[in-house]
């Protein structure tokens, strides 16, 4: 096989996993944009999404087209509960404290999942088919190809909504200036809830995709850390940043994993993160926060 074809295939695989990263990063961005909270529990929400799908599809025997929306809705519901129960009481507190609350929340979610479903890794019921996909001569794993398409569509929908839909505009306004948005009659608490519902729902959906590729386990939340790198590189408050950052990190991980070895994947990602922090602390597309005297 030619080196060029191999490179193309690796690149395509990288783009595919990059799309998954971007989708997960989107959950970070939505929540951060509206509420200025870095939700480290996004990884665990993703895991929960995988398990909810598992429960609906394997446990209750529902077909995939019903189980997927239910899993996403379940994620959204948990998001709503978390926002009302944990995040709103912390409004106005030090952002670090809120960040730590989400770490605690992540731990609780992992424990609950272990309690209910045990710790064995499981495979999700297959619903994506098995025929391999070829782009030209280049092979792409079918699951990865599907994940790429789904992630791309979802991100495109979000970008459109942000621009044209009232709720999206309200979210952007809230992100820019909460007080001003409030005085313009925007229901700011409503926007907060909405952002958490949509963000956690998105994470749960990403969990279904990820779980169908690699199986589910209570430890799969670590994927959230890679997505965190994506948002830092892309900019915490930028949807476009999540998209570009996700693809970039996906590509770099794929190249590093292939040409250096699998053990270099994480270290390359985090090395990149450090460089990004030193050069552009607020990300490629993020808004610079101005320090005030």
């Amino acid at each position: 096989m030619s080196d060029l074809l191999f490179f193309t295939e690796v690149t395509l695989a990288g783009l595919g996993s990059g799309a998954l990263l971007a989708l997960t990063a989107l959950a970070f961005v939505l929540i951060y944009k509206a509420t200025r909270v870095i939700n480290l529990a996004v990884g665990e929400m993703l895991m929960l999404g995988g398990y909810l799908f598992f429960a609906f599809a394997a446990g209750l025997g529902l077909p995939a087209f019903a189980a997927i929306p239910l899993a996403v809705a379940g994620g959204g519901l948990v998001g709503a509960i978390v926002e009302r129960g944990l995040i709103r009481p912390m409004l106005g507190e030090n952002p670090i404290s809120v960040f730590m609350v989400t770490i605690g929340l992540g731990s609780v979610l992992v424990g609950l999942v272990e309690l209910v479903w045990g710790t064995d890794p499981r495979a999700l019921p297959a619903f994506m088919g098995t025929t391999p996909v070829f782009i030209g001569e280049a092979y792409v794993s079918r699951k990865i190809a599907i994940a790429f398409v789904v992630a791309a569509v979802v991100i495109a929908v979000f970008l459109t909504l942000f621009r044209f839909w009232r709720g999206g505009v309200a979210l952007r306004a809230t992100a820019t200036d909460q007080a001003a948005a409030y005085s313009c009659g925007i229901n700011v608490p409503g926007v907060f809830s909405l952002a958490w519902i949509v963000g956690c729902g998105t994470a749960a959906g990403a969990g279904v995709l990820l779980g169908s590729i690699g199986g589910i386990s209570p430890a799969m939340g670590v994927f959230g850390l890679s997505a965190l790198v994506v948002v830092i590189v892309g900019g915490l408050d930028s949807v476009a940043g999540a998209l570009v950052g996700g693809l970039v990190i996906g590509l770099i991980e794929a190249w590093a994993g292939t040409y250096l070895g699998g053990e270099y994947k994480l270290v390359t990602t985090f090395g990149l993160l450090l460089v990004a922090l030193m050069i552009r602390p607020y990300g490629l597309f993020g808004t610079t926060e101005i320090e005030r005297l």
Partner: protein
């Protein structure tokens, strides 16, 4: 409901039922201590191990115990965390007089080794088959109830060399202590046997998406792919993608990947998976295995490979204790280990298909099995292979 498997529930309640229905402890009980992972990433193994040990102890006690003394298992969950295992060890050894101990991980075996040497009163075995532990000088009070990881891959290579001389091999290992354990030994042994290792793939411990690794595999086009350092994931994804690509490679694994119930859940993609297994399977109908008949009598449903491991470990523990007491010696680490090493051509009741000897810290025998998806069973693909020198 919600996909909690029946097996898990049964195993949990069974283990707990046994734990609660313990007869009142007598003062001269022989206590086997245990740091056992009933939860955490290795719970699947811990639950089976615990059940296996309990069952053998039950059989033994029903037959009168050891010189009239009952045997009892005192264990706690560790969640497969080294510090928790050490805490459990200290708690249990503070509560009971313990001479035999089951440990749950390589990390624990190494960590507690100094304490074992200091105490001098305990012989330990466990769930780790780490090559490093197979060294009677460095680990004089420990052993493993099977071949170490390098010996396991050695058995696989032996088989490959016979089936297809000069075969091309790819090694896939997880980037953990467990995963990297046999790499060096495997490469050396492959060279000796005239096999060619064409690619080494290391996956990050948290890898879920293995597309790029599969591409590497495709490029290397091996005859055999040997996985080590995993229980299940990401093997099925490797195998189904390889099948999609029409790769001819045969996939192989080591002991902890060999349970047939975990492959049953994978379905069709699992067909043809091979690996090395030191024990017989629950459903093996071989005529020379009275212990398997006994197990099937006690437990009508399938028991996992870790169950067999626990069962055999308890058998060897108690055999060593019996030999020590029969020789009129004190129960301590050194005497127990000496008694264990005196085991020669020992009949395990069919748990292992050949008589075993334990001159050192391991039992370097095993057999190649192949998974048959239609029967949902592992079928023997070779005879018993010994790599004892």
């Amino acid at each position: 409901m919600f996909g909690i498997t029946r097996r898990t529930l049964i195993a949990l309640s069974a283990s707990a039922a046994i734990a609660t229905s313990l007869p009142a402890a007598a003062a001269d009980d022989i206590v086997i201590g245990g740091s056992i992972p009933l939860t955490g990433v290795f719970a699947f193994a811990g639950i089976g191990i615990e059940a296996g040990m309990q069952d053998y102890i039950k059989i033994l006690n029903e037959a009168g115990g050891i010189q009239g003394r009952k045997v009892r298992l005192a264990y706690e969950d560790t969640g497969y965390k080294v510090d928790a295992s050490v805490a459990v060890f200290n708690k249990l050894t503070s509560q009971d007089e313990i001479h035999l101990y089951y440990g749950d991980s390589t990390g624990f075996a190494k960590t507690i080794n100094g304490e074992l040497d200091r105490l001098g009163s305990i012989m330990m075995a466990g769930a780790s088959f780490a090559t490093e532990l197979n060294d009677p000088k460095a680990f004089p009070h420990q052993f493993m109830a099977g071949p170490d990881y390098s010996e396991m891959t050695g058995i696989l290579l032996e088989y490959i060399a016979k089936e297809k001389p000069g075969a091309k091999i790819v090694l896939v290992n997880s980037d953990t202590e467990f995963g990297r354990d046999p790499i060096a030994a495997t490469k050396a042994r492959a060279g000796e046997l005239g096999l060619e290792v064409v690619e080494e793939i290391i996956t990050p411990p948290t890898a879920v998406d293995v597309s790029t690794e599969v591409l590497k595999l495709r490029r290397a086009r091996p005859d055999y792919t040997i996985f080590h350092g995993y229980v299940l994931a990401p093997l099925p994804e490797f195998m189904s993608q390889a099948k999609q690509l029409g790769l001819e490679t045969k996939f192989m694994g080591t002991f902890w990947s060999m349970d047939s119930s975990i492959w049953a859940k994978v379905g069709e993609a699992a067909d043809g998976f091979m690996g090395v297994m030191p024990y017989r399977y629950y459903y093996d109908e071989a005529g020379d295995a009275p212990m398997l008949d006994r197990i099937r009598e006690m437990r009508p449903e399938y028991q996992s490979t870790p169950y067999m491991q626990g069962f055999l470990t308890a058998m060897l523990f108690t055999e060593a204790a019996k030999r020590t007491l029969e020789a009129g010696k004190e129960l301590n680490g050194t005497n127990l280990k000496a008694a264990l090493n005196s085991i020669e051509n020992f009949d395990t009741g069919g748990i292992i298909g050949v008589p075993i000897s334990i001159p050192g810290n391991s039992i370097p025998v095993g057999r190649i099995y192949r998974y048959d998806a239609s029967a949902q069973k592992m079928q023997p693909a070779s005879d018993w292979i010994s790599v004892q020198e």
